[in-house]
Each structure stands twice: as structure tokens, then as C-alpha cells.
Symmetry: D3
Subunit: 136 residues, 6 copies
């Protein structure tokens, strides 16, 4: 159970500031389904609006990275942060954007490898090589 | 300073099991430079060998994801794990594989966005939508 | 399910060192309810006693911060550590100490903001400004 | 050293989209000093602008929590995320907003206590009490 | 529910590369039971094989640390990483290797203590004493 | 630089509540050296006293685990929490308690292995096997 109320569609429809964001979520995604994250954020309409607009700007516009790559990066961060909900929702999003089993398997392998070497490096307290500090 | 000895080239050359891995690192990367991570792992030759061979298998073969995408996923995990060395070394690796400023900027934006929503989701303890549990 | 036994009231009553702490928890909180955390710690009576006495000293005395502020700080740490139980129990405690919906919403917004900028700062490896190092 | 360029004032002045944000930072804070975080974000003007505007909306408006409480929550999250820069910058911000030594000491005590019980709870995998799931 | 398919025994038996690893898991552990982790990794046979072989080399050979100590270290890392599954599986493994209640209680106390001082140290940004930097 | 004052010996000597703890640290460890962590905690004498007494109770008494094992568990937690100071100080403590190079190498290998499988398990969201839930 959540620590906040998850808004039903009826509650959303009665709150114009929330409804405006939900309408845009549905229109942008071309789907009636609005997942629980947004139903929790609905308790704070300005936070809901800012978060949705940032997410659109970061994840849903044409950019230098393709949308699937962005979803895989999102999964990587969410895994290291142990955010179960986020892993589920962004794995679903990545699959919706075309991630196949082979790509998913490689994503997992890279995440696991990074997890291992992050821990080894930190336990050894390896100093940064000067070669990595050029440029910046 | 590291919590382990960082092996010099002279020390490596005197230890055949370590030298064999360093030779392969240099040959594979077509560069004489071997960064400190491997000089720390040299204290445990079987761990050095296993880690290098896993890294080659995960990061340096043709696969379903292109090498730059894998490096960006590595940076994402390393950031959430707060591994300073890893962020430096894999940002250098990503740049060596062609990451331009626009791609780096988008990578950072996605990492920041994920950091934010990971925290919001966790603080609200949002339950996973059933729609995300189909398939698996 | 827990990895340790959760002590029932009957078990607690039969163990004087545990019962003494549970009696103090009940008296201090003016409530018969003792939550599962303490029922797990009961397996190690000295740890139970030390933890409860520290918690009282940190969270339940008059001090420089009001009790609600302390609970919100607790939620913030628990979120970044991804401790689901702790988020639930301290959100309940914060509500019991008067946290209203507007305060909860702001707490969430700050936690999310910090999550975002923590990740951005770490990914960019921003050096600490000298201005922040004055004093200490 | 950062993984991105930290913009000098001269570079900022030559880029109108960046300069507009820096001008607002200086005007809002009534100070000429702009810390390195923003000089790193300057590489991505839309991200710079979104992050600054979110930070203003979350941290610098009148709200349900006083500004010092918000800074202490920020420190709590940054500590659990091991973000050294963020701890330094927000401790400075908290002091600028009036945090005294006694308040800082209590903040540290709460953060430490939460760190301890977060780990104990997680290692014991304590199930959430039903009492904490009422409401939401 | 997992984000990947968990392979049944029938599916394993039909895939020789997977079956070879499962056969070795069963033979090494002298048990028919193969836990879900391996059934998830089965989707990527080379990753399955590498992970199992590393795990055997690290956890199941005679070495400088006894097997129970290694399992307790595993639990410690898994707790700080908030990996619920890993805590459950390695607590079971530690018990199977003889961990008694007193040892488990001490393990928890050390994990909790480390959690507390890690947070205190980080919030205070304590500089490393020169005495700790000798040697390496 | 720390975010708090690090107390000099002269300052400690002038504050009886702090001096009493420092005297006990020196007597217990049979060494004049008091590391920076305690010099930072000195700003809050009750926290200093509670932390030292807990540390003694957890790390420095005869118990079910030998002192070196406890130090290695401490390093494991500190690594996963990315606490650089803690890794340095507890690696020094482990070496003082007799940890040799082979034991240190195995500790690192286990920490790295756990880091890898923690990330793999979390990314795959593996459900806990029923076999691991028996007992508790």
C-alpha cells in the first residue's frame, strides 16, 4: 500500500489542475492507461505537472539518444537505486519501445558487470588515473 | 590512496599470471595504458583474470547493443552507486567510443530524471500496476 | 517473511530482559501496540535495549529540532536507503505527530529534488566550491 | 575534476540562454556567487533552466515547511546517497538559513539513527505491520 | 513477478547450454533444488555460465576465509544494497553452513553499527586520517 | 574538509564529557591515537558517548564472531554504502587484527560477487523462493 492516496479517475476528473495533466499523459501516450505513479503525484498538482513536463522533455522528444536507449539507462539507474516499481514500469516501457530479449539480456549483463566493478573499485579505493582527468 | 598495492609495470612483468592478463588488456585495447583498476586487481590474479574476461565478454564483443550504449548504461549504474572512479573511467571510455556533448548531456538528463522519480516512487511506496506484471 | 523470529507477546512476557524494554516502549508511547521491528530485535536483548534507548534519546526528547522535523528527516534517509518498512513506519509516526497533507507533499518534493540533483552532481563529478569549505 | 566543462562567467555571458538563468540565480539569491553545480549544468541550457526552476519552486517559496527544514531534509537524502558535493553545498545553505550547532548535531544524530535502523530492518526483512497500512 | 521468464525444469532440459549449468549446480550443491535466480539467468546462457563459475570460484572453494564468513559478508553487502531476495537466499545459505542464532545476531549488530557510522561519517564529511593511508 | 569542527586534543582536554570518552578510547585501544571520526562526534558529547559505547559493545567484546570477521563485515557494508573514510579506517582495523593479503583478496572477491548478483537479482526482480521462507 502507498503512503499517499492513489487518485481514481473520478477524483482526477473533479480536479481541473490534475485532469489537465492526466489528459496530456493520455494524449501524449495515445493510451487511456495512467499508471499509479501519476495517481500518487496527483496529491501535489504542481509537482505532478513539473514531473510530467520534465519527463516529456527528457524521455519523449527527439534527441541525441534514441528513446529505447533512454529507457535502458533509466532501468540501470533504477536497479542501482533498488526501485522495484521503477524497474517494472521502465522495463515495460522499454519493451513497448521495441527492446527484444537479446537487448534485455545484454542490458542485464552490463548492469551486473557495473555492479561488480563498482564494488571492487570502491573497496580498493582506487585513485583516478590522470589520463581520465584530461579534458572534462 | 588505495587500500591495496597498485602494481607497477615492473611488478607485473615479474608475475606471469598477471602479465598474461595485462598483455591481453594491451592487445585488446591496442594501447599501452593500463588503468589503476587492473593494477589493484593484480593482487589477486584469478580475480583479475575472471574480471577482465567477463568485461571483455560483456563490453567488447559484437552484440545486441552498440558499445557506446553499453558504456552509457555503465555510467548510469556507477552514478547511482556513487563510484567516482567508475564514472571517470567509463565517461572516458564513452568519449573514446564517440559519445558527443549532446549525447552526454542527454545521458545526464535521463540519470537525473531517474534519480528524481526513483526517490518519489520509493517515498510514496507506489504499488506496481498489474499492467506491468503481464508477461515477464 | 522475516529472516528472524518475530516475538509474540507471550514470548516477550517469558523473557525478562526483553519484557523490560517492551514495557518501556509501551509506557513511553502510551500505547499497547509494539511494531514488528522491536519483535525482531527481541532476538538480541542487548541490541534491542541499546537501539531503543538510542531511539528515545534521538527522537523522543525535547531538543533543538521539533519531533515532526526529526520524523521527516528519518523518512528522507529511509527513502534514499530504499527501506520500505522504515518509510511506512516513520510516515505513520510523522502523521501521528501532526504531519498534514501539505507538509507531506513538500517533504516528497524535496526528497525528489535532492534525488535528482544528487545524481546530476555525481554524474558530473562537480568539485566542491571553495566557498563551501570555509568554516567547518 | 568534473566530467563536464564548468562554465566561466565569460562563457556564460556569451550564451544568452545560460546567462538568463544565471541572472535569475544571482537576483533570487541576492549574491554574485554562482556555485559549480550550475556551471556544470550550463552545458545543457534546457536542463539548467528546468533544474533551477524546479529548485526555486521546491526550496525557495513560502510553503508548509520552513526553508531550514527543507535544507535539512536535503542534507539527509544527500548523505544516504553519498553525494559529497551536495552535503557540502546544502550544509552551507542550511547554515545560511540559520541552522545552529545544536540543530546540526541533532540532524546528524537522526541521520545516523536512521542509517542504523534502516540496515537492521533490511537485514531482518521485517514485514510491514498492518497498523502502518491503514489510511494511505 | 520477475521482469524475465523463470525457466521451468522442462525448459531447462530442452536447452543443452542451460542444462549443463543446472546439472553442475545440482551436483556441486548435492541437491535437486535450483533457486529462482538461476532460472532467471537461464535466459542468457553465457551470463548464466559465467555467473555460476564465478560464484563457485569465490564462494565454494577452500580459501583464506571459511565459507560461513563469506556468506555473512554476502549478507552484509546485500543488506546495504537493499536486495531482499539476496538477503533471504544468503541467510538461508549461511544457516545451511552452520550459522547459529548468536552469530546471526552479531552479524545484524555489526551491519547496524556500520550503517550508523557510515551515515555519520558521510554527513560530517570526515577527512581520512593520514595514519590510515600508510601502506596500501 | 569536514562540515563540522574536528576537535584538537587541547579542546578535548577542556571539555570533561568529551575527555572522558577520549580517555576510554585511548585506554581501550591501548593507543594515544584518536582518529578524526571521534573528533567530529565530539561536537555532540551524548552522541559521541552513545556511539563509542555501542561500538565497544558490538566490535570489541568476546562474542560469537571473531573480531576480524566483524571488521570484514564492516568493510563490506561500508563499501556498498560508498563510505570512503569507513573503508580506509576499517581496512586499517582489520589489518591491525591480523587480516593478511589472501584474506583481504577474498573479502574483495566476495564483495564484488555480491555487488554483481545484487544488481542482477534486482534488475530481474526475482521472486523469493518458498524454500527460503521456511523458518525465519
Amino acid at each position: 500500500m502507498a503512503t499517499v492516496k492513489l487518485w481514481t479517475d473520478a477524483e482526477v476528473d473533479a480536479a481541473p489542475a490534475v485532469k489537465a495533466v492526466f489528459d496530456d499523459i493520455r494524449a501524449t501516450r495515445k493510451s487511456d492507461f495512467v499508471n499509479n505513479f501519476w495517481r500518487g503525484l496527483a496529491n501535489d498538482p504542481p509537482l505532478l505537472k513539473r514531473t510530467w513536463e520534465s519527463l516529456k522533455a527528457v524521455m519523449m522528444v527527439d534527441g541525441a539518444l534514441d528513446p529505447l536507449t533512454r529507457e535502458m539507462i533509466y532501468i540501470a539507474v533504477s536497479t542501482a537505486n533498488s526501485c522495484s516499481y521503477c524497474i517494472h514500469s521502465h522495463t515495460a516501457a522499454a519493451r513497448a519501445r521495441g527492446m527484444n530479449d537479446a537487448q534485455h539480456a545484454e542490458l542485464l549483463a552490463v548492469i551486473g558487470m557495473a555492479g561488480q566493478t563498482n564494488h571492487l573499485v570502491t573497496a580498493m579505493q582506487i585513485p583516478v588515473d590522470e589520463a581520465f582527468l584530461v579534458g572534462g
